[in-house]
């Protein structure tokens, strides 16, 4: 089972690794992706990024993504942790951990989880610029392409 959390508060990466590995001697590797707030968009300085989500649907969508990862790889555990609310440049937004006996499954599952999360979980980002302007982030075709790499139906 992957642990899934959505929260406003910052998270402690070391504590998340420790919680995943506690009491386990079967894990041989943990893949990790940490997404953070970039401080500029096309050279325009950012003051903050605000993350909105659809609470009733979010955990369900993340659980479905986690279940798909567990069906594809022999995972020994994992974590999906996503923050919401207003976050300053440099702040962590999302943490994905995937534990397995060997590195390839851990790394592949980590890539899969973040790629699917970006296109299938109901989160939206709004940029607040240092100059006072605001803009909702638009979905990127590159993200759809990244998620499509994991399609099993050719």
């Amino acid at each position: 089972m992957l642990r899934i959390r959505v929260q406003e508060a910052p998270f402690d990466i070391a504590a998340e690794f420790a919680a995943l590995a506690a009491g386990r001697a079967d894990i041989g590797g943990i893949g990790c992706f940490l997404g953070t707030v970039r401080g500029e968009v096309g050279g325009r300085p950012l003051a903050a990024m605000t993350l909105e989500h659809y609470p009733a649907m979010t955990e369900r969508a993340l659980a479905a993504i986690a279940a798909e990862a567990e069906a594809r790889w022999a995972l020994l555990g994992g974590t999906i942790l996503h923050r919401v609310g207003r976050l300053p440049p440099g702040a962590p937004i999302v943490l994905v951990l995937a534990a397995a006996r060997h590195r390839q499954a851990a790394l592949d599952a980590t890539g899969f989880l973040i790629d699917w999360l970006k296109t299938r979980a109901p989160f939206w980002k709004k940029e607040s610029f240092a100059d006072g302007g605001e803009a909702w982030v638009e979905a990127r075709a590159e993200d759809d392409a990244a998620a499509a790499r994991h399609d099993t139906t050719k």
Partner: protein, 88 residues
């Protein structure tokens, strides 16, 4: 045809354009699909028209699952409208 009530949710710029995040609404009985619902909503006022304007990428979920415009809707459904997701 008797109408029915649905619970509507709006996120991101749809919420801003419509001016609210959620509402209970009575929908005419001949509205059977998500696509028909969004077309009907678009005629409710300028904010809705702007949110559901043609060419704008609007996605939706029925009862917390992503749904296409052909998806059926009925009494008591929770229907959410939002832009393509941008988390992660």
């Amino acid at each position: 045809m008797t109408g029915f009530r649905v619970h509507l949710l709006y996120f991101a710029w749809l919420r801003e354009r419509i001016g609210r995040g959620e509402e209970e609404i009575e929908v005419p009985g001949d509205i059977r699909t998500l696509g028909a619902l969004s077309a009907w909503l678009a005629a409710r006022g300028p904010g809705y028209a702007s949110a559901f304007a043609a060419g704008k990428a609007v996605r939706a979920a029925v009862n917390q699952s992503f749904a296409s415009p052909e998806a059926a809707i009925g009494p008591g459904d929770e229907v959410a409208f939002f832009p393509p997701v941008t988390g992660g």
